[in-house]
């Protein structure tokens, strides 16, 4: 029997303009949730990673901290999210905690690498000028570590955008909600649209961060990369 309507939604086409028109607000909401989760995960990750890296280096615990980061990084995301469900339930918090932990593992590694790469004579010179440890860190070491930190932020952001989709399994995954929902209803236009948006979001975020990186580390432009 032929369907009454011949629209692309009825035919369950992959590419469907009708879908884009009729589900605009749903797509917008999912996109906003996706961006919010990503921004929270990377910002919280960064706020924790910087002091953690500084502390780890000062207490000579970098190996331990990086080892712990590798362990967390090795745990598959569905499993990591599941661990928090008894505590935070089916909620955005559960997904956010998992995403923070992953971005943290990437960021702490890059902050440590960035600080390690600051030349010793620069640190000595700053000390010789009478800088205390805090001023040395804020005025000299962190700025010089900025390129490595920003490289970490870019990797963490792009990975988080991709990982957030898994949160769709518990309906707090931004565009992942539409992907998982589309799996259950075999809704092709929804899955492909959400997937493409996800990739576009990742590429856009990476480009925006590249511009930010160039702006805040103007000296890096001389060293052609």
């Amino acid at each position: 029997m032929r369907p009454l309507s011949t629209g692309c939604l009825v035919r369950n086409d992959w590419i469907c303009g009708e879908y884009l028109r009729s589900r605009r607000s749903e797509l917008q909401d999912a996109l906003i949730q996706h961006i919010t989760l990503t921004v929270v995960a990377v910002l919280v990750g960064l706020v924790v990673a910087i002091p953690l890296a500084i502390l780890a280096r000062r207490l000579r615990l970098t190996q331990l901290i990086l080892g712990a980061a590798t362990v967390i990084y090795t745990i598959p995301s569905v499993a990591l999210f599941s661990f928090f469900i008894p505590f935070t339930g089916i909620s955005a918090t559960t997904v956010a905690i998992g995403l923070v932990l992953y971005s943290l593992t990437v960021l702490v590694r890059n902050v440590v690498a960035g600080l390690d790469a600051v030349p010793d004579d620069v640190v000595e010179a700053a000390r010789g000028m009478g800088m205390g440890p805090t001023r040395l860190m804020v005025r000299v070491q962190l700025p010089l570590a900025l390129p490595a930190i920003m490289a970490g932020v870019r990797i963490a952001t792009v990975s988080t955008i991709s990982l957030t989709t898994v949160g769709g399994i518990i309906n707090y995954g931004g565009l992942g909600n539409l992907i998982f929902g589309g799996l259950q209803t075999t809704f092709r236009a929804q899955v492909i649209t959400a997937s493409v948006l996800c990739v576009v979001l990742a590429i856009t975020a990476d480009l925006v961060l590249l511009v930010v990186q160039r702006t805040i580390t103007p000296w890096q432009r001389v060293a052609a990369r």
Binding site: T70, V71, Y73, T74, I75, P76, S77, V78, A79, L80, S82, F83, I85, P86, F87, Y102, V106, I155, V158, S159, I161, S162, L163, T165, V166, G168, I169, I170, G176, I179, F180, G182, L183, T186, F187, R188, V191, I192, A194, S195, C198, V199, A202, I203, D206
Partner: protein, 231 residues
């Protein structure tokens, strides 16, 4: 379920003898997970290693080798898995294996390529000067010196594949992810968290096994991780 009792419930679930028997018991699901992952890793190595070694040897295709990793990071594994499953491949093991292979390739390709490229040029020149053929240089000089990075790539791919295989359960691909999937479906937190424990244990065991293997083969291991991404 209260958080405090969650640990007890998980311990009960994991030690329940019934969960260790039958076609959906822990041993069968673990075996499925390992077979899915092992098969995919073998295919990934068979496809990516010769290509990466050859490209590295002739010194071409660097942009490809690096971009494959960047693209792999930006494309969500979960999305590709679902797209394959509601597309021509259908729900099941095939869609899972294809996704596992696709996302296993980037780390192997990039690390093996960079490994060969980073072999000291003087060493390669010396080998050529001794009259070695291109094949001999690759076989006897570049391959052994690139081995640490090649192994790092395979290790990253293995961990990546095990994680993706967990997601495969959501498109009926089998493996330990089934317990997590079933836990969500039945709203059974003990099963859900137990599944997560099993998956995490498997991933960490494989990571640990590779760590030991790498230490065995190369004590002065270079700790480069050129293709970090997570599923």
């Amino acid at each position: 379920m209260m958080p405090m009792s969650a640990f007890g419930d998980v311990a009960d679930w994991l030690t329940e003898p019934a969960h260790w028997h039958g076609s959906d018991g822990i041993p069968v699901r673990t075996w499925e997970h390992l077979v899915l992952s092992g098969t995919s890793l073998a295919v990934v190595c068979a496809l990516a290693l010769p290509l990466a070694l050859w490209l590295g040897h002739i010194g071409k295709g660097g942009a490809l080798a690096i971009n494959v990793t960047n693209i792999g990071r930006a494309v969500p594994v979960f999305a590709v898995l679902v797209l394959l499953a509601i597309g021509p491949l259908g729900l099941g093991v095939t869609a899972t294996i294809v996704a596992l292979i696709l996302f296993g390739i980037p780390p192997v390709l990039t690390n093996a390529y960079v490994g060969v490229r980073e072999v000291d040029r003087d060493t390669v020149e010396a080998a050529r000067g001794m009259g070695m053929t291109g094949w001999q240089v690759l076989r006897q000089v570049e391959l052994p010196l690139a081995l640490p990075l090649i192994l790092t790539g395979i290790r990253l791919a293995a961990v990546q594949i095990i994680a993706t295989a967990t997601l495969g359960a959501f498109v009926l691909g089998g493996g330990l992810g089934r317990f997590i999937n079933a836990g969500f479906g039945r709203q059974d937190q003990a099963e859900l968290v137990s599944g997560a424990v099993l998956v995490a244990a498997l991933a960490l065991t494989v990571e640990g096994a590779f760590e030991l293997l790498q230490r065995r083969l190369d004590p002065r291991r270079r700790v480069a991780r050129l293709s970090d991404r997570r599923v």
